[in-house]
């Protein structure tokens, strides 16, 4: 799991509040931005993504005394963010796919904007935005966080077989869209 090597000592004892505050703060500072990006790629807007990450770290904080392997705790936060983002998306339900598309291309328009104008790139963005949320989760974890199939399966609490199926369906959809513009 990404983030496992934080140099934090494993302990069998219940951490003191100070230990917990310091440890979770360190994890927050190290991983917050990357996790917000993951959540934003799934839910489509920054404010909701920040809320999802806040909730994930709050859940980690509550459970911290019970964590046996402190170094693996960030894996739990990944799960919280991926599933929390999915849940927020469902609650919102009416999110138009174009919102995600717009979010992808309009954030900080000066950065790499020229490249994003390319037809194939835009088609890929639109295709990604229209994927079912589970497929989008798998794509983001695989190609942004570089998680393995086993790690994605653990993060999303699904089987490796399901990861493969969601990934292959997503790639087939995106590949078809790209062919259409070429």
């Amino acid at each position: 799991m990404i983030g496992g090597a934080l140099g934090m000592a494993e302990t069998d004892s219940v951490a003191t509040p100070l230990d917990r505050d310091a440890a979770v703060t360190e994890l927050f500072l190290t991983h917050h931005a990357r996790l917000v990006i993951v959540a934003q790629m799934i839910v489509g807007d920054l404010a909701t993504a920040e809320d999802v990450v806040q909730d994930a770290f709050a859940s980690l904080y509550r459970r911290w005394p019970w964590i046996r392997e402190k170094g693996a705790a960030i894996g739990y936060v990944h799960s919280s963010v991926a599933n929390g983002a999915r849940s927020r998306l469902r609650q919102r339900r009416r999110m138009r796919t174009t919102e995600f598309h717009d979010a992808l291309i309009d954030v900080a328009p000066g950065a790499d904007h020229a490249a994003l104008q390319h037809d194939a790139r835009r088609e890929l963005e639109a295709g990604l935005a229209e994927l079912p949320v589970r497929q989008r989760q798998v794509i983001v974890l695989r190609y942004y966080l570089d998680q393995s199939e086993a790690e994605i399966a653990a993060t999303l609490s699904i089987s490796k077989g399901s990861v493969k199926k969601h990934a292959s369906r997503a790639l087939a959809t995106l590949g078809t869209r790209l062919k259409e513009v070429q």
Binding site: A58, P65, R68, A72, G84, Q91, V107, A108, A154
Partner: protein, 390 residues
């Protein structure tokens, strides 16, 4: 461009470019201040839960120590695993056709986030709204809501399958392996009202057998439950992933690290049989009859006779969710895009209907219940019309 490697490269570039563009808008310092402001509240909230959880775990340990001695299961010792069965030729399949007219009335959103129709009790459909922490009881034909019960669901945890055991419905909630206590929720099977849960150190898999109700209660540990009292009676070691099944008098679970399907005698807690199944994945185990499991075989599903080690049936149809109707027919959903009826003896496809984004199916009397996880909708199909094709 269309080659997978090119597509994957483009995807990586796209996502990284997006991340680079988003990065300046993220205020980690400000978010950390917000986070720290809520910590006192989180400390108080957790403190109450910890006291109850610690007491329950101590009770489990004490119960095991003073009552029946915990059974420590054999790891199998020098047991040699039976090889993977030779798969028969794949059973014939069909191209999906349109649903019969009148078999299904398109419905508007019916208030779910991620519905999982899991169970029917006395004609009442039970749906767990995953991630929303809500158990809903419904009329399976009209989809009218009869009751709704909220349970405490924390971000990042995943509910398992609602399972009836006598007058109680159990819902194990799995937490990532690094965590301590989680819970097997209990509900009154007649009213849906929540009862005190069973606090355990790990949860997820559960099965009801003629010799008792067994569930994951700790990592690679299965417990016999007293569901009426909400207690763990005894425990034994057993590799389990997400599901348990009972066939040929044994409990079956996956040892994924070694690609083994393992059979354990639940009375003695000892491992007595295992199959080496490399390339098979850990779909939820389904017991089709007293000796047969439905398992996820390479490029399809297969029936495994756990008494003989033979695979009497195999199909290239990759059913992700399945349910058996009153005639014994097996209904499933393929890639979210087809509802299929399979002959349970041969796995031959008998019917195949085009659908859109169906994730889970459940048979409820004369209705086939389907959950759409994309829209968050539960649908009800007329089984008689599906069977007749008209």
């Amino acid at each position: 461009m269309s080659a997978p490697s090119d597509l994957e490269t483009q995807l990586r570039e796209l996502l990284n470019a997006h991340a680079d563009a988003l990065q300046p808008s993220i205020d980690t310092g400000g978010e950390l201040r917000k986070f720290k402001a809520r910590l006192p509240r989180e400390r108080r909230r957790r403190a109450a839960t910890l006291v109850a959880a610690a007491a329950a775990v101590i009770a489990i340990v004490a119960g095991v120590a003073t009552g029946i001695v915990a059974l420590t299961g054999s790891s199998g010792g020098d047991m040699s695993a039976a090889p993977a069965p030779l798969l028969p030729p794949p059973a014939p399949t069909m191209t999906p056709v349109a649903l019969p007219g009148g078999s299904f009335a398109p419905r508007e959103l019916n208030g779910f986030v991620t519905p999982s129709p899991d169970l029917v009790i006395n004609g009442v459909l039970w749906v767990d709204d995953l991630h929303d922490g809500r158990v809903v009881r419904m009329d399976p034909t009209t989809l009218h809501v009869l009751s709704s019960t909220n349970y405490e669901m924390q971000s990042g945890l995943l509910p398992g399958v609602l399972t009836q055991a006598g007058n109680v419905v159990l819902l194990p909630v799995s937490a990532p392996a690094v965590f301590g206590p989680t819970v097997i929720f209990r509900f009154d099977a007649r009213t849906g009202q929540e009862l005190p849960g069973i606090v355990v150190t790990a949860a997820g898999a559960i099965t009801v057998t003629p010799v008792g109700v067994f569930a994951t209660v700790a990592p690679n540990t299965v417990g016999l439950l007293d569901v009426a009292r909400g207690q763990v009676v005894r425990t034994f070691a057993m590799p389990v992933d997400r599901s348990l099944a009972f066939a040929d008098g044994l409990l079956w679970g996956w040892d994924l690290r070694r690609s083994l399907l393992v059979g354990v005698d639940p009375a003695r807690g000892t491992q007595v049989r295992e199959f080496s199944l490399p390339g098979y994945s850990d779909r939820l185990l389904t017991a089709l009859d007293s000796e047969t499991l439905l398992i996820d075989a390479p490029a399809g599903i297969a029936e495994l006779d756990v008494a003989t080690g033979q695979a009497p049936a195999y199909t290239n149809v990759e059913v992700l969710s399945d349910a058996t109707d009153s005639t014994g027919a097996l209904w499933g959903v393929v890639d979210g895009l087809a509802l299929v009826e399979l002959d349970p003896a041969t796995l031959r496809t008998l019917r195949s209907y085009s659908v859109k984004d169906v994730d889970l199916v459940l048979v409820a009397g004369n209705r086939l219940i389907a959950a759409d996880h994309v829209r968050g909708v539960v649908d009800s199909f007329d089984l008689a019309r599906l069977r007749s094709g008209k």
